[in-house]
Assembly symmetry: C2
Homo-oligomer: 228 residues x 2
């Protein structure tokens, strides 16, 4: 697939939300929104990506490994001359990813995207834990600049799994090429529960999407958008 967008890398956002747009509860508890069909779909996109990214909030809340679950998908990657798992990328301005996080384990490469305000000893500690640290932006991560560096490391397709803060930042920076959302058949509710796109929010010039496909999976539906 040819890379798209303003950075020479394809950025594919993938998330599961309730029918009212929530990624989890107000207590940030991870809950099962999708089912086995959507899980398999997500695993396939992971396996087809060079790296999988989350915001540091997701690391702190869920401690995900972000690795490919299906062994045959990992084997197919190895046969293609790729590592078994895609790299893990954490957007982490202030370096809050704990050194013992699963995203820093030895199952795959790990990148931390930090800002110039990141404390050098924190950076050194994560590098010692095996992470490649990319510094871009003064106080917040300059995502476009950081993504250019990721592209230089050979990352052609980056899958983004959330949460809502990083997804908003990516739309704000006009870096999203595709968005896939599983809409689960449940209500979570809560004016403080995290949504698919949080941040400050747009008040004009709303990012427009093109709905490409609609597919019923499990007891919900997957909406696939292209970002023109």
């Amino acid at each position: 697939m040819a890379p798209l967008g303003i950075v020479d890398m394809r950025v594919v956002v993938n998330a599961a939300m309730s029918a009212d747009g929530k990624l989890s509860t107000r207590e940030r508890t991870q809950i099962e929104i999708s089912g086995p069909g959507d899980f398999e779909r997500m695993d396939q996109i992971r396996a087809a990506s060079d790296a999988v990214m989350v915001g540091v909030g997701t690391v702190l809340a869920d401690d995900p490994a972000l690795t490919v679950d299906d062994e045959s998908l990992r084997e197919a990657r190895i046969e293609r001359g790729e590592p078994a798992n895609p790299a893990r990328v954490v957007a982490d301005s202030r370096v809050r990813t704990p050194p013992e996080s699963r995203v820093l384990d030895d199952q795959a490469d790990s990148y931390l995207l930090v800002s110039e305000a990141a404390p050098p000893d924190f950076v050194a500690q994560r590098e010692k834990a095996g992470a490649t640290v990319i510094s871009a932006g003064e106080n917040r991560v300059d995502l476009a600049a950081a993504f250019e560096e990721l592209a230089d490391h050979g990352i052609d397709q980056l899958m983004v799994e959330g949460g809502g803060e990083i997804i908003y930042s990516l739309f704000e920076a006009d870096l999203v090429d595709r968005l896939s959302v599983f809409v689960g058949s449940m209500i979570i509710g809560g004016r403080e529960a995290p949504t698919l796109a949080d941040g400050e929010g747009f008040v004009s010039s709303f990012p427009e999407l093109e709905l490409e496909t609609v597919e019923r999976i499990d007891d919900g539906v997957v909406l696939r958008y292209h970002v023109p």
Copy 2:
């Protein structure tokens, strides 16, 4: 259609949200999420309902009339022996609906659902403006009790158009029979922007929905759910 649910009345929630679950911006500005096809669909549901309900937040933000737009639909209602427009219902615990609001105009009947804490002079003023005031609940409107009274007034189908606070309250009180959501192909974002279901939010026993139909309309999709 036979009434369903714990109250002898069918409660049909209908709303349009962005792909990230927002009803409007963080500034509560009304924006065009759906298009003419969804507008027509909404108008048909209004015309098929005995009353259309919103929360007082929606009255204060948008001052909607909640009347049927299509003249032929109004004429068909009259031919069926019904008033041209369905009644308007506002959930308004503290009586904040301005007396000059369009929902209180003479185009249709108007009901205000208030709590027992509602100031009697405010109640009298709205009654003078033409509203029927239903009082139920101590400080917040007891929606189940108020709906029983609406059913006694001959309202068999109530369409609820939002906003997110009243929709959450209805799910909390287990009063929703059906939910239709138009998902628009745009991102609004904002951790403080109103969503389809706000309120406190559930942390367990999440209301489950059954996805009945998925239909592409305008540049988005309508998801229709049944609440078992």
